[in-house]
Amino acid sequence: MIGLTGPAAERWIRRAAELVAADAERLTRLDAAIGDGDHGHNLDRGFAAAVAALPEQAPAGKVLIAAGRALVSKTGGASGPLYGTMLRRAGRHLDDLDDPDAADFGGALHAALDGVRELGQAAEGDKTMVDALAPAVAAYEEALAGGAPLPGCARAAADAAATGADATVPMQARKGRASYLGERSVGHLDPGAASTALVLRALVETLEG
């Protein structure tokens, strides 16, 4: 079975940085509608720092931990600690495994979700990145249980994340700056959920590419 090798993890972070950079303006525009209007710019800066911090010839766990640390240090907004925690928790779960398989990576994704939930104190339906990440993890686990290999599991996760992000539009925000707007936060796509879908799409492109 093909797993998530160190070089594949590196390519994932590089591809995520490219997708975030290409979509930075859209993410910032989404954030300007209900947040503080810096999500795309901040995440672009954070992922650029993550790419610069990628270690050479390290296993996937180490790659993700290094990327997470750089994201936390350089991002500047709430997405720094949240994405940093996501990658660090996933990395720690994979630890020093040279070639984590689809089940190992599923565990890492779940650890990432737990970390984000814990730090952000957000539940599904709060109109946050959890609304993309939680269904993604569930879809990944379902695909895994059905015997899908890593790319297939990742594809299921990315599709579920995109659907989950779209589902944030009618939600009323209960976390972050958008929550101050009450009902006025309804009708907008959550930028954190949108960027989460983007990062998982980068994983699929990396594994299928």
């Binding site: 810096d38 936390v72 240090s73 350089k74 500047g76 907004g77 600690p81 949240l82 925690t85 730090l119």
Partner: protein, 132 residues
Amino acid sequence: MVGIVIVAHSRTLAEGVAEVARAMGVGKAVVEAAGGDPDGGLGTSIVAVERAVERAVERASGDDGVLLLADIGSSVLTAEMVVEDAREGTVLLADAPLVEGAIAAASMAAAGADLAAVHAAAEAAWDHRKRS
């Protein structure tokens, strides 16, 4: 003495709250500010928070711990990460209103209380209403 670090989106907000808290700590409390993002704009920098914690430990000259107070959003999340990365029990984050909590914490720290008591004083600041 317990050190205190103010984490805020703006450098001047963090410094202003620290200034008031120091005064309420009758010049004895150690209150450090960590405001702004890594580029000097509005936001949060984990590196700035970690440095402020180091300064607080140094100036409070002891191993009594550090209490963090944060304004909103990324300040809170960043402070949580600093707590997670520190040696267990040495750095705590108060779930407290920033100004009232900082003043309560500085007052308690200046009185020589331990970290648990300073933390509790900050969190009890929710009860200090403007009108009641």
